[in-house]
Symmetry: C2
Subunit: 712 residues, 2 copies
């Protein structure tokens, strides 16, 4: 399979993206960082974030090295000696380093942009918005640029998706640490700060006397910028790899089956299909860049509307540009048959459907978390009946909110499958993630304005500026809700595609998986354990936050008790201690969840076989979807219900109703920012682990496992 020249498009798009990221970085850095106090606070935040990243990357170094050696010496060549070992191991390393680089770059600019955005708010809303948005875009563009260059260069050199799989696994193992670790960090600080500061000492949000306030702001950066960035990096690369691997497998089989009609594949057609995901992602990136250009705040426009406008533009441009490039692909090789050209257009359709589905998913999660819609209003009203009822209400609406996106995914999957078989489903995931550059940019905007608001408070910029920052912050929260719905949907389709590609891959390597039949007891056991794992994983993360937050609470109380001058504002609180607790705790607490995500799939494969492992992944994907959506939306709705009450509704701040709504928000914090979004990464890591370890698993009963119960 020769690699077509058109791949250069993706490389160019990636290059432009990195260049624009650096340009935006320049735009942000040249802005005024504000007064001395603001610079001091921003300095603390930057220091804290860097400390976390340093400690985190040190641990990651060990972990990555270990997996690098395992791949180099054991996988995938256990059964096919000499095949792809060093290539996959090196790709793994590049993927890990790429993800670390993108995360670092995004966060580095994020912690610089916050104080500048706060200062920008003293000029006008537009200035503040632009700085925050440019800051966020650095993350979005860096993520996509690094990913796309990595994928296209590695595929260009090694010409097999199996090496790109190593790259993807590298990105995912970083994402697991960054997402879970960041999630634990941010909520340790947030919950700790709220429990003592707000509840016991009645300090306002972001009060500089609160020793955990800096850790809280650092948390926004490490959890919501670096964490979310690495999560989407991970899904983005995984969706491309899953589609490439499926195309290659079907190319070997010589046929792509789909209900609308099977297509016989030629060598030329296969080569084009394999790079189609990369090309369409390149097109998506160009669309994102244009979309980002369109995100401009005009006059009195709502900041949230500006962000959405960018997303719509990127989507529309994607439809047109991707059609154009589908046409280029279809004429790029004269040996491609008419049937294959028809298939290419169907694939274009699946990518468009995926993207539409992604946007719809984003907006359903927006619906379930907006304070002007029924669910959040009902949750807020439930606070009138006390703490327990607000919890019950938010819990229930969160569960109900699973239904619309589940139907959305099912319908998108059905149409995509109808058009292009399993490859079509994989390409729907690629389509959904095509404009991820815009999505990540919008998302990373959120924590920057959140931090900007805190710095404006601490830098004593006055009520007017804080109100401006609040307005920007509220748009950030909406963007975050949409991004989360989007990210969960995209990850879900991606892991389904990975599941299909895992099975095709196992078949190609000689495992006899005729089916993943729930009537086979081995398979049923796999599915059973799979359904339980996301629940266990969520619980472990939440308990981790709780344990760590308890330490934080003790430390805050200790500081207030030992030095009463902190509360009077005469002396500064000791921020380094709280940052230290959040940093060390988050790393210690993510060991068990990480091990689960790698060891359980391997154990299932060894004991119950490859088909059971596929069912395990299937079960985990479906139940993971339920838990991820439920937790994210419950959490978001509780948060917004509380904010709506704080805006003066139902009696406003300080009432018992408000207190009950704070309970909802505090429960929702680890739901929406730790456990919920980490499930995506869990699923991707488990799926990739399965694919990477296939060769190893085939050693046990030829992939049937050691405990063969099912009657074949």
């Amino acid at each position: 399979m020769a690699v077509p020249f058109i791949l250069i498009v993706a490389l160019i798009a990636g290059g432009i993206s990195i260049a624009m990221a650096l340009y935006f970085r320049y735009l942000v850095l040249k802005e005024d960082p504000g007064n001395e106090k603001m610079i001091e606070v921003a300095g603390y935040i930057e220091e804290g974030a860097k400390t976390y990243i340093k400690v985190q990357y040190k641990v990651l170094g060990l972990f990555v090295t270990a997996l690098f050696l395992i791949i180099l010496f054991l996988l995938p060549s256990v059964i096919n000696p000499g095949t792809l070992n060093w290539e996959q191991a090196v790709a793994y390393l590049i993927g890990a380093l790429g993800s670390m680089l993108a995360g670092w770059l995004g966060m580095y600019v994020g912690v610089k942009a916050n104080t500048r955005a706060a200062q920008g708010c003293t000029v006008n809303t537009k200035k503040g918005f632009d700085i925050a948005f440019f800051g966020g875009s650095v993350m979005g563009l860096a993520v996509v640029g690094v990913a796309l260059i990595g994928v296209s260069v590695i595929y260009g050199i090694f010409q097999t998706p199996l090496v790109v799989l190593g790259f993807s696994f590298g990105a995912s193992s970083i994402a697991l640490f960054m997402k879970c670790g960041g999630g634990i960090y941010t909520k340790t600080a947030d919950v700790g700060a709220d429990l003592v500061g707000k509840a016991e000492y009645d300090l306002p949000e972001d009060d500089p006397r609160n020793p955990a306030t800096i850790a809280d702001n650092v948390g926004d950066n490490v959890g919501d910028i670096a964490g979310m960035g690495s999560d989407l990096f991970d899904s983005y690369v995984a969706s491309i790899v899953a589609a490439m691997m499926l195309a290659a497998s079907f190319g070997i089989a010589g046929i792509i089956e789909s209900p609308i009609g099977d297509v016989t594949l030629t060598a030329g057609g296969t080569a084009i299909l394999v790079i189609t995901p990369i090309i369409l992602c390149g097109v998506g990136l160009i669309s994102s860049l244009i979309g980002i250009y369109f995100i401009k705040l005009k006059g009195s426009e709502e900041p949230g509307k500006a962000l959405n406008t960018g997303t719509y533009f990127a989507t529309l441009i994607y439809f047109g540009l991707s059609a154009l490039f589908t046409f280029f692909l279809s004429i790029s090789d004269p040996t491609v048959t008419q049937a294959e050209i028809g298939l290419l257009w169907r694939i274009w359709g699946t990518s468009a459907i995926g993207l539409i589905a992604g946007i719809i998913l984003g907006f359903t999660s927006d619906y379930f978390t907006r304070d002007d819609k029924k669910p959040t209003r009902n949750i807020a009203n439930a606070a009138k009946e006390g703490h327990a009822v607000v919890i019950l209400s938010g819990f229930s609406y969160g569960l109900i909110s699973v239904v619309p996106p589940a139907l959305g995914i099912v319908i998108a999957m059905a149409i995509a499958f109808w058009l292009g078989g399993f490859f079509g489903v994989a390409m729907a995931a690629v389509g959904m993630l095509a404009i991820v550059g815009t999505i990540v940019s919008n998302d990373a905007y959120g924590p920057i304005v959140d931090n900007a608001r805190a710095i404006a408070e601490q830098g004593a910029l006055g009520d007017e500026v804080i109100r401006t920052a609040d307005r920007l912050d509220s748009a950030g929260n909406t963007a975050k809700a949409i991004t989360k719905g989007f990210a969960i949907g995209a990850a879900n389709l991606t892991v389904l595609a990975l599941l299909f590609s895992f099975v095709e891959e196992a078949r190609t390597k000689g495992a006899s998986i005729a089916s993943v039949d729930l009537l086979n007891v081995n398979v049923l056991i796999g599915a059973f354990i799979g359904v339980v794992v996301p629940a266990l994983f969520s619980a472990l993360l939440i308990l981790a936050v709780q344990r760590n937050a308890a330490k934080m609470v003790d430390e805050i109380r200790r500081q207030f008790e030992e030095n009463p001058k902190i509360l009077t504002g005469e002396e500064a609180a000791d921020f380094s201690r709280t940052i230290d607790i959040a940093t060390k705790g988050s790393l210690r607490e993510l060991i068990l969840p990480s091990l689960i995500s790698i060891l359980i799939p391997i154990a299932i494969g060894v004991l119950f076989g490859v088909a059971a492992l596929a069912a395990f992944l299937g079960g985990a994907i479906l139940s993971g979807f339920v838990f991820a959506v439920f937790m994210s939306n419950s959490g978001g709705a509780w948060d917004n219900a509380k904010k709506w009450i704080e805006d003066g509704n139902l009696g406003g701040k300080g009432t018992d109703i408000h207190k009950a709504s704070i309970t909802g928000d505090t429960v929702g914090d680890p739901f929406k920012d730790t456990a919920g979004p980490s499930i995506n990464t869990l699923l991707v890591v488990m799926s990739l682990t399965a694919s990477i370890f296939i060769g190893f698993l085939l050693l046990f009963g030829g992939g049937a496992g050691l405990l063969i119960l099912g009657i074949p």
Copy 2:
């Protein structure tokens, strides 16, 4: 297939059971009902319970008639005209009436036993215990007796499990209403009473001034006695039917496959295998009767220990007796082959494993909810950090508590399958439920002593007596925790068996289900929707409780405001209004959940085909297990954490820690008593609906469904 004479054993056991139930009823009724005030309160409770049952049974009458007519005119003969229509319809009717009868009998004695048990406590602990336990046993024995007589008579007359399936469906449709309706009723009253009475007016539990206190006590009877009884009736019959249908299907195929070795079936052997579930249940019932005989409180023994002793005895006796009857079965027909005799012994083994697994499951849920074990202690300690943290902690431990029973089920299923294939799994469910007579008796004891405590309070029997009643009540709570774990495990294995029998049944009727393959997109869609349904169902029930409790709260406040003499105790509260709200609300609110459980499986079968429906059931079973265990155990642990604090730990009553623990308890109430346990019934109803409607579903694409996406 001639019906062997040995079936008479089950009939005799059923008869003895009913006779003993009536005898226990006599024993209870002849006891002293206590002072005038107690008789008055008990009268209110009885009145309320009867009103509920009357209204409930009226609605049920319509529902049952409609389904009776559907079965009579449409099913199962749509494709095989003239087959079994009236037989299945009549069996359906008998099943429904039987379940209603058992529920009515149990509740009737329950509401008589409460005041007598309270009065018994004035004599000594043993007297109170005996009355409550005899009262509870009426329910246990009536449930099992009616079920066993129904199953054996219907099978004896019609000689095909398909007619017994009608009986089972009848029992299940009643169970759905009784369990969901009772669950909503009991928590409407409980949450309503707590939110206003305890939280706003600082009234103690069961204070007669609280207008919802009678409704609360009625709720214990309709939810925890009638509801739990019909739930276990439902699982019990369903497990027998699933095993019978599998045996009959394998009989037609002429072989039972299992990893340990396939067995060719003769006509005689099949006839024996088909009745084995009934015989072993008869044996289990005899064991239960002996076990109940052993439940005697000696001197200063803990009441909880006495209940457990009965369970252990019943289990041991079952092992011996069932071996004896397996021997009788093996010699009852000289045409039975050696291989079939070997299979019978393996099947005996699976039933024993099922029973052991059930007991282990019961004790794991006990572990996760006992106040002297780590999870509940940690949850109680989390209350120190406030409302939100106690919720997060209980939520997490609830999710973690899913892991041990999931492993228990998986291991039991694996061993049972190894020994006897799918039939072995079904027989493990039968074994697990064999001693259900003891289990239901222990469980129904709980609400009786709970009511007795309330009546002792309201009848002013003094602190000493209330302490005695409290001791009995605490044993009841432990029994309830164990029963719930047991019930969920049993229902889970039962619905798995129903899933297998559904597929075998569909195959027998001509559907081409080669597999339930997750790689088939239709099947994957089915599984996806299946996983979501228990989440949706739980949320709807919880919201129903919340809505209804809000009405209850308004009514209680209204009464206190309009008539201040209620609070001073000068005038009685208007109990009929609160009972009316709970009754009507619970019926209105269960319409949507009931429709879901019948219409969604049919819709999946029509649209996506029978294999997708099987996957739907599989997905629902697995995710339903997670939600059922999590909700039951979270709720139980919160409840006990609160009680532990109320016992004087962490500062005891009235502190902020106590208030936080009450929030946990209130959230846990609908978790553990409404949503969690209703999921069992949901799963059984959905599985039976699938089986009953097979003929109808085969009309659509021959069982492939209208929307065929999967590539076969």
